[in-house]
Symmetry: C2
Subunit: 454 residues, 2 copies
């Protein structure tokens, strides 16, 4: 695991292309070594997909295990207590970029497979592994790859771990993911930076204009102010919301995790609802003009914002993209020019909680963590979930092992090591349950044995 997290696999930054390739090669070698077959590293639009399988149970079910070995950028670097690609154990946690999202979590299943193969010589069901390197940039190759390899990827159910538990001993299975739409908005004015003494007051400042534009994306009640934006948002009835509330983290709990005192957002919904069954729009980054120490007397020529929507059923990212562009065209002052670029798009997904695989997962959690899982909605986005549903026609079991304070996407990302070990056990029990109980005590005991952190 430590070696796996040492590769700086930041998929958004092309300077790391070689690192992603090296990591994919390393992963493929690892999968081969533990006994999987047909191991392949397949080029993607930007970074490769790693495939491996074991099909020794012609009558057994087939499990498609998905994960991603790419990670988020690491800045602001100065806020990391230890280097992001130098995995470091402090207390019961392993700190590294990707330790949790998603190298650590996907590795629970790799180690479960290794345990089975070492302890049992064979797996209790057929397995196909699909590990991609483009998840953090919106999985641009994945849908095409799956559509072109339907036969090879055919399975009964997909399994992935890229979501959260409620707490260290409170396991959860995610039953919905928000969709996402990543955009870049560039506002430009004068052809080059101008002296703010000579021109200040007479030329519209692109940074100020971008501030004005972003301020007009929400209304004062916290709703997204794009006409038509909420038209296709599915509304839950009171009964559904009450049921959600039974297992939902409280507002206070969410604020504590966010390390902030005050909530914000759409009136009439709890914070949990705002982050799961309601869509959101976030300015992820903004840059323009002088950013060094002290000041600089300029009107910058341009300013750029990175924005992302989180979408819920039945919103369609393509339609929202169009509505956003129309809104920007409408609210951009005539004194500047605005340009929108689409960076990524993924549909929202909902999983049927009554599927037999969900019951198997619940059983496995009880054995692995000693507690029954709750079904939770997730605010995040895993493009693969909707793709598996739409292209392969299979549900995905979202078996989360992350804690809400694991700081995924942020500095000092970590993975809680007890969750790593309990996750491996849960994965083993899940495969056993899926294969109707063909596991053995030996597998489980050895399984924990092979999961050293090397």
């Amino acid at each position: 695991m430590k070696q796996f997290t040492r590769f700086p696999t930041i998929s958004a930054q092309s300077k790391h292309t070689r690192d992603l390739k090296n990591c994919a090669d390393w992963l493929a070698k690892h999968l081969h070594r533990i006994g999987l077959e047909q191991v392949k590293v397949i080029p993607g639009k930007h970074h490769p997909i790693v495939f491996a399988e074991s099909r020794r149970e012609p009558d057994g079910p087939t499990l498609l295990i998905y994960g991603h070995y790419d990670v988020q950028p690491v800045d602001p670097l100065q806020e990391w207590r230890s280097a992001p690609f130098e995995p470091t154990i402090r207390g019961s946690d392993l700190y590294a970029r990707g330790a949790c999202d998603d190298k650590g979590q996907m590795f629970t299943h790799v180690k479960a497979l290794e345990s089975y193969l070492r302890g049992n010589g064979t797996l209790p069901l057929n397995v196909k592994c699909l590990f991609e390197g483009e998840e953090e940039i919106g999985s641009p190759s994945l849908t095409g790859f799956i559509a072109h390899n339907k036969g090879a990827l055919a399975a009964d159910v997909a399994l992935m771990s890229d979501t959260q538990m409620l707490g260290p001993n409170r396991p959860a299975i995610s039953c919905s993911e928000r969709g996402a739409l990543g955009l870049e908005l560039e506002v430009s004015g004068p052809a080059h930076d101008l002296h703010s003494g000579n021109f200040g007051g007479a030329v519209h400042n692109p940074l100020q204009a971008l501030g004005e534009i972003t301020a007009r994306l929400h209304d004062c009640s916290g709703r997204i102010a794009i006409p038509g934006f909420y038209d296709r948002v599915r509304r839950l009835d009171e009964k559904q919301r009450d049921r959600m509330a039974e297992t939902a983290p409280s507002d206070a709990h969410i604020l504590r995790e966010a390390k902030t005192k005050t909530g914000w957002g759409e009136r009439g919904f709890t914070l949990y609802e705002r982050t799961t069954i309601r869509p959101a729009l976030t300015v992820n980054g903004l840059t323009g003009g002088y950013q060094g120490p002290g000041g600089k007397g300029i009107i910058p020529a341009r300013a750029v914002a990175k924005l992302s929507f989180r979408l819920v059923p039945d919103q369609d990212p393509r339609q929202i993209d169009q509505l956003f562009r129309e809104h920007i065209a409408r609210i951009t002052p005539p004194t500047v020019r605005a340009k929108v670029r689409t960076l990524s798009a993924a549909k929202p997904a909902v999983v049927n909680t009554h599927h037999p695989a969900m019951r198997a997962a619940a059983l496995a959690y009880r054995k692995g963590f000693g507690a029954a899982p709750v079904f939770l909605r997730s605010g995040g986005t895993i493009p693969a979930v909707s793709t598996f549903q739409e292209v392969l026609g299979i549900p995905t079991v979202l078996m989360g092992f992350a804690l809400r304070d694991d700081r995924i996407h942020a500095p000092n990302e970590k993975f809680h090591l007890p969750n790593f070990y309990n996750g491996i056990a849960t994965s083993i029990f899940f495969m056993a349950a899926m294969s109707r109980g063909r596991t053995s005590k030996a597998v489980f005991e050895r399984g924990i044995g092979v999961a050293e952190l090397s």
Copy 2:
């Protein structure tokens, strides 16, 4: 001149502290070599002041020549056609950061002094040179230094060149400078960056909040929306505005220079008025969250804007600072925290156009450029002007040699070389006129000779 512009004297960036010291030492040595006396390099708060003098005319007037050898930052670096500190001649222009602001312009006077001393053996009047290295960061040491050295700096009139002409053959003397107030505004929310999937919609985004705050600094008519901000702005009557309009660049002219199609700003004023007799507020830079390629799904923990006011008589930067802080406290949403830091402050200044030194300057321009100058208001800020007026009780002749398209503060800053040579001639004639005509043809002819670009 080329050697002078090679020093990367960016005063705002502490990594260049050594470069500023080296440049000051080089400048001191140069002043000594051309024959000035009492040459000193005096430490400032950040960067040294260079002083030199010649007091061989006990009955003659004393001229205080001011300039600054520090420069603005150079980013965005990729937009420079040649490296900012590798002076390069293309056509009739010398390209380098500082070529115009202010190394090139201050050097016209150094070369005029050199011409006099070489051609004549002595100067026609007493001269004190005061060259600072902190102008671009608001001259934090200057007022104190002048106040503590009133006797040593006593003079009849100050001379500086750090302003603009109307065009290559249309010289101008600046008769007013706007004041300035540089500020940094930091908005912070959660203790660290948050995953925008898990928290998007439930936590106020500091970048969005900063956009909302900056959008509320102007009203929709282009006026600054801070209560009390305009209270002390001096209003010109119609006759004064008509007189201004006679020599003012037109709106079309200003837009052409700004390379933009549409003006912006306070209704009821021409673009020239908006940049000279009206105050302005500019967002000079803004940064927060992810700024690399692609996207990153975060709610950033904080966002920072750099802002600067340009102030006009009788606005007081200290009072405006206070009004700004009160306004920010008022408009900051309770869901985030805002912090204001003052970076620099300088008062606006107006120069009496009827002073005899102004007449001498007009005469010198006619000889140096072959055209009479107009009196122009400048939108920029030179803290020294108000300090000379208030502390030494002397007016400043603002003899501009810059062209409006010299891109000061921006990439590809340049100095128009004919203005360099005509500027030297103008400076020579000005000194001669100030000393009641004791110049000689020989000085002028040799003067042009010594001004090679080495």
